[in-house]
Amino acid sequence: MSLVMLSVAAILFAVGTYLILQRTLSRVIIGLGLISHGANLLIMLAGSGPANPPVILATETPPIADPLPQAMVLTAIVITFGITAFLLALALRSYLLTGTDAVEDDIEDRRIARHGQSESEREAAT
C-alpha cells in the first residue's frame, strides 16, 4: 500500500469532514462526495494486500491485479452516485421551499435554544 495514495485518501477524508460540518447544504454534499472518494480509494489500495483473487486460470506469472476490490468500488461508486443525485434533488427542493441553501436546525435544537433565551431576546428574535 503506497504511502502517497494513503495520504491522498486521508486528505480526502479531512477535507470532506470539514465540508460536512459547514452550514451550507451544497458544501455538505460536496463533502460527502469527497469522503466517498476517500473510502473508494481505500478499497482500491486494499487490493494490493495479501488477497487471493478467485481468478480461474490464475498463474504466478505474470502477476495479475486483484479484481475483487475493483468490482466492489464499482458497486460503491454506483450506489454513492445514486444517493448523491437524490440528495441534490432534496437540496433543490429545500432551496425552493426555504429560499436558502442552509441546513436548518432540528425541532429539538430550536426548542432548547428558545429555553436558553431571556424574554427580551425572544422578542427581539421574532
Partner: protein, 489 residues
C-alpha cells in the same frame, strides 16, 4: 430448498419492477405487493422450520463455493428475525393500503415498499461483508424515498439530515470493508471468523470499534442516536411504523452478528454494557421530555435498543438469548405502538398530547389495542416484554453486573411512567372531537399485530427455547463457519 434464500431477495425486487410495469392500476399493484411480501413471509417460515430442524439452509450464489462466492445463510438467528420482520412488513402493508388509498399510486408506495422488503431480507440472510453493505444500501435508499413521499418543508429538512448521517456511516462501512480485506484477504463472514483470530489483536479491536461505530449509527446507539427522533416522526404512519420496527433492529442484528462471529471475546464486555446503559437512560429521559405521541415513541426506540445491547454485552448464551428475544419482541411491539399512534393521528390530525383526550370513552378499541403494547414496552408481566427483560435481569445478577441491572430496572420504571403519560394524555381527560374515522383496514392490521404480541406470551416456552438454541449457535463461531464452509466440500 436452498433456492428460497436468493428468492426472498429476488421476488420482492421483481415485484417492485412489476408494479412499475402495471402502472397506475391500484388493484394489480396491491396484488403484487401482497403476494411479494407474502412470499417472503412464507419463505421465512420455511427457512425457520428448516434451520430449527438442524439443517440450516446455505446457498452459494452462482455456484461459487465460499469463500470465493457470495454466501446466503439462514441460521436460526437470521431466520427467526426474518420471520418476525416479514410478519410485520405484511401487517403494515395492509395498514398502509387502508390508510393511503389511491395516494399510494402517486407515491409509488408499493414499489418502494417491495424494495425495502428486499433490502431487509438481504441484510438479514447475507453471509458476506460487502454484500451486507449492498443490502443495507438497498434498504436505506428505499427508506430515503419513503421518508420524502410528502415533500413539505418538515419532511425535506428531516430527510436531509437522515441521508447525510447514513451516507457518512456508509462511507465508514466501506472503510471497514477495505481494512478487513487488506488484513485478511477475504470478506466472507464465515471465513473471516477464523482469520480474524490470526491477526494482530490491536488491529482486530480497531476493526471491532469501527464496525461498532458504523452500525451504532444505523442502530441508533448512544451517542450516535440523535438523528432518529428527529427524522422518524415526520413520515406517514405506516412508514414510521415499519422504520421503527425494522431498520434499527437490522442494525442491532448486524452488531450482534459481527460482535459474536468476528470479534468474539470471553466474558462480559464493559464497553458494550456502558453503551447499553447510556442508550437506555438517555433515550428514556428524552421520551419523558416530549409531548407528542410519535416523538415519545421515537425516543423509546433508542431506549429499548439499550436493552438489546445489554444482552449482547453479557456475551453469554443466556444474555444473547435474551437479546434475540428482545429484538424479536421489540419489532412487534414498536410497530404496533406506532400503528396505534397512527390511528389516533388519523382521527384527530395531530399526535400532540395536549390537543387530544378522552378516547377511552369514544374509542375503547384503541385503548384496548394500546394497553397491552404499552405495558409490554414497559416490561410488565404477563405481557410479552416481560420475558426478555426478566431473562436480562437474571443473567445480569448471575454475572454480578449489578450496576447495569439497576439502570435497566430504573429505565423500565421511567418507560412505564412515559407510556402512562400517553395514556393520560390521549385516553383520559376531556373528550375532543374527531375529524375523521380511521379506516377499518387500519384497525384490522393493528389488531393483527397486537394478537401476535399476545401470542408471543402464550407460546413463550417454544419461543424461548428457539432463542436459546439460536444463542448457543451464536456463541460458538465455529458452528457458523462449519455451516458455510462445510457445504459443497
Amino acid at each position: 430448498m436452498s433456492w428460497l434464500l436468493p428468492a426472498v431477495v429476488a421476488v420482492p425486487v421483481l415485484g417492485a419492477g412489476l408494479t412499475i410495469i402495471v402502472g397506475r392500476r391500484l388493484l394489480l399493484q396491491r396484488a403484487i405487493a401482497v403476494s411479494g411480501v407474502g412470499f417472503v413471509l412464507g419463505a421465512a417460515i420455511a427457512l425457520l422450520i428448516s434451520a430449527d430442524g438442524g439443517t440450516a439452509l446455505v446457498s452459494q450464489v452462482g455456484g461459487w463455493d465460499a469463500p470465493a462466492g457470495i454466501t446466503l445463510v439462514a441460521d436460526r438467528f437470521a431466520a427467526m428475525i426474518l420471520t418476525v420482520a416479514a410478519a410485520m412488513l405484511f401487517a403494515v402493508l395492509f395498514y398502509a393500503m387502508a390508510q393511503l388509498g389511491r395516494d399510494a399510486l402517486d407515491w409509488w408506495f408499493h414499489t418502494k415498499y417491495l424494495v425495502l422488503t428486499a433490502g431487509v431480507a438481504l441484510s438479514l440472510v447475507t453471509g458476506d461483508l460487502f454484500n451486507l453493505f449492498v443490502g443495507f444500501e438497498i434498504m436505506l435508499i428505499a427508506s430515503y424515498v419513503l421518508l420524502t413521499v410528502k415533500t413539505g418543508p418538515d419532511e425535506v429538512r428531516a430527510t436531509i439530515s437522515y441521508v447525510v448521517i447514513n451516507l457518512v456511516a456508509s462511507a465508514l462501512f466501506l472503510m471497514v470493508v477495505a481494512y478487513v480485506y487488506t488484513t485478511t484477504g477475504t470478506l466472507n463472514l464465515a471465513d473471516l471468523s477464523g482469520k480474524m483470530m490470526e491477526i494482530d489483536p490491536a488491529v482486530r479491536s480497531g476493526l471491532s470499534m469501527l464496525t461498532l461505530v458504523v452500525f451504532g449509527i444505523k442502530a441508533a446507539l448512544f451517542p450516535l442516536f440523535m438523528w432518529l427522533p428527529d427524522s422518524y416522526p415526520t413520515a406517514p404512519t405506516p412508514v414510521t411504523a415499519i422504520f421503527a420496527g425494522l431498520l434499527t433492529k437490522v442494525g442491532v442484528f448486524v452488531i450482534i452478528r459481527t460482535q459474536t462471529l468476528l470479534f468474539s471475546q470471553e466474558g462480559p464486555s464493559t464497553l458494550l454494557l456502558f453503551v447499553a446503559g447510556a442508550t437506555m437512560a438517555v433515550g428514556v429521559l428524552g421520551a419523558i421530555a416530549q409531548n407528542d405521541v410519535k416523538r415519545i415513541l421515537s425516543f423509546h426506540i433508542v431506549s429499548q435498543i439499550g436493552y438489546m445491547m445489554m444482552g449482547l454485552g453479557f456475551l453469554s448464551v443466556a444474555g444473547l438469548a435474551a437479546a434475540i428475544l428482545f429484538v424479536a419482541n421489540q419489532i412487534i411491539v414498536k410497530t404496533g405502538l406506532f400503528l396505534v399512534g397512527g390511528l389516533v393521528e388519523a382521527e384527530h390530525g395531530t399526535g400532540a398530547l395536549d390537543r387530544i383526550g378522552g378516547l377511552l370513552h369514544r374509542r375503547p378499541v384503541m385503548a384496548a389495542l394500546y394497553l397491552p403494547l404499552a405495558l409490554s414496552l414497559a416490561g410488565l408481566p404477563p405481557f410479552s416484554g416481560f420475558i426478555p427483560k426478566l431473562a436480562l435481569v437474571q443473567e445480569g445478577l448471575a454475572l454480578d453486573r449489578n450496576l447495569i441491572v439497576g439502570v435497566s430496572l430504573a429505565v423500565s420504571l421511567l418507560t412505564f411512567f412515559s407510556v402512562t403519560k400517553i395514556w393520560g394524555g390521549v385516553f383520559w381527560g376531556e373528550q375532543t372531537a374527531a375529524k375523521a374515522k380511521a379506516a377499518p383496514g387500519m384497525m384490522g392490521a393493528t389488531v393483527l399485530v397486537v394478537v401476535l404480541s399476545l401470542a408471543a406470551v402464550v407460546f413463550a416456552e417454544p419461543i424461548v427455547g428457539l432463542a436459546e438454541r439460536a444463542a448457543s449457535d451464536l456463541i460458538d463461531p465455529a458452528i457458523y463457519a462449519e455451516l458455510v464452509l462445510g457445504v459443497g466440500r
